[in-house]
């Protein structure tokens, strides 16, 4: 598989956060492992995933939350369906 861009990984991460929202809290490492599994370890590494998470957070599409540990989740307005 060819190496995905940071944006593509961020999009895939966002889809995962959205799909699991309300069912499972995801940590940064959960997203990283999921992306390595999805794209393959020859195409995606921890460094690329770190950049993708940075983009996800800085764009405001996701935020950090704290529920007995730090997780990555959807912002409150999306949380309420708005």
């Amino acid at each position: 598989m060819s190496q995905p861009t940071v944006e593509e990984v961020a999009d895939a991460m966002y889809d995962l956060v959205k799909a699991t929202h309300g069912k499972k809290n995801l940590k940064a490492m959960d997203l990283t492992k999921a992306m390595i599994e999805k794209f393959g370890d020859d195409a995606v590494d921890k460094k690329l995933c770190k950049l993708a998470i940075r983009q996800l957070i800085d764009s405001g599409r996701c935020i950090y939350s704290y529920f007995g540990g730090s997780f990555i989740t959807l912002p409150p307005d999306e949380d309420s369906g708005g």
């Binding site: 940590k27 490492m29 770190k50 935020i63 939350s65 007995g68 730090s70």
Partner: protein, 397 residues
Amino acid sequence: MSEKNRATPLLDELEKGPWPSFVKEIKKESERPMVRDLLGLLERSYEEHIGHWKHGGLVGVMGYGGGVIGRYSDLPEEFPEIAEFHTYRVNQPSAWFYTSDALRTLCDIWDRHGSGLTNMHGSTGDIIFLGSKTEALEPCFADLTEAGFDLGGSGSDVRTPSCCVGPARCEWACYDTLEACYDITQTYQDELHRPAFPYKYKFKFAGCPNDCVASIARSDMSVIGTWKDNIQIDQEQVREYAAGGTDIEAEICEMCPTGCITWNGEQLVIDNSECVKCMHCINVMPRALKPGKERGATILIGAKAPIIGGALLSSVFVPFLEMEPPYEDLKELAEAIWDFWGEYGKNRERVGEFIQRVGLGNFLEEIGLDPVPEMVAHPRTNPYIFFDEELEEDEDE
């Protein structure tokens, strides 16, 4: 609306006596509605013997996953001014040196945006701003950054590194703790602000084995100053201590944990090969004894306070490391640990607990560190460890 004259008989008890009282200090600000409600809620907790705070949630500032701890009261209708009462952790300067102007700036910012109550400092070392409404978080953060301050760590990230006063005021400092603390803070901004670990990771920098920041008890990575060569002795000063009433035999020689010091009334002799750097003799006779000249630090891993599970002290991983910028070896070790622990650590599992779970041998192998005798805290207590050579000999027999 907060009640102006709410009675607080239980809290009032804590104002009695000659000692400092947090109630007394909070009451000085009781013209503020937030502070009045805070006192009311606290009185209520004392009456009912239960806390009324929930913490965590979704609050923070844009781009950061740490530095703001969401706090909510579970009695928002009764105490509306503190329905939201979030805490900021503001990254303190190395060793807590401030100008009075910097302190005024911080207080002015907090007067504008929050309750005005501070805690100088939190147990990790941060400047703590207590009590902000959600809407005030971003404006306060903007003012802090404008003034040159940044938020510290919270959640599953690198917590705000802290250090002792170091060479700024202490001649025993074996490396520049302030510089190392600042360098690590700047290098790991991402790890500090963007939580990516199983749980918190603390760095603490102590300049000598006195460990004034208690790094050995509180930090996942303790960097404790030490020396390789001999303790420096000024024999003339030793004799002056003796002449001044110090019982060197009783107070120094007999108190030495390894018994490596002798005193014949004229000369103090230290067998430095047996010295365990406990600092006792240096602490008792600071004018006569000093740490050696070949200085650096011992790196210890795995301490934690007993929030979840029991307390752990950190253990030696690197007996001696030269501590010069840019601290590449220290960073390489930290990153190797994060890589392994980050991938396999459980949620809320500190590095020390992780090492206990996976075993020190496996941990060392994964982070690429060779075992050395200094890592052994209690030799000959485990009968199940064998050297390869011994096993081979047994097989030959």
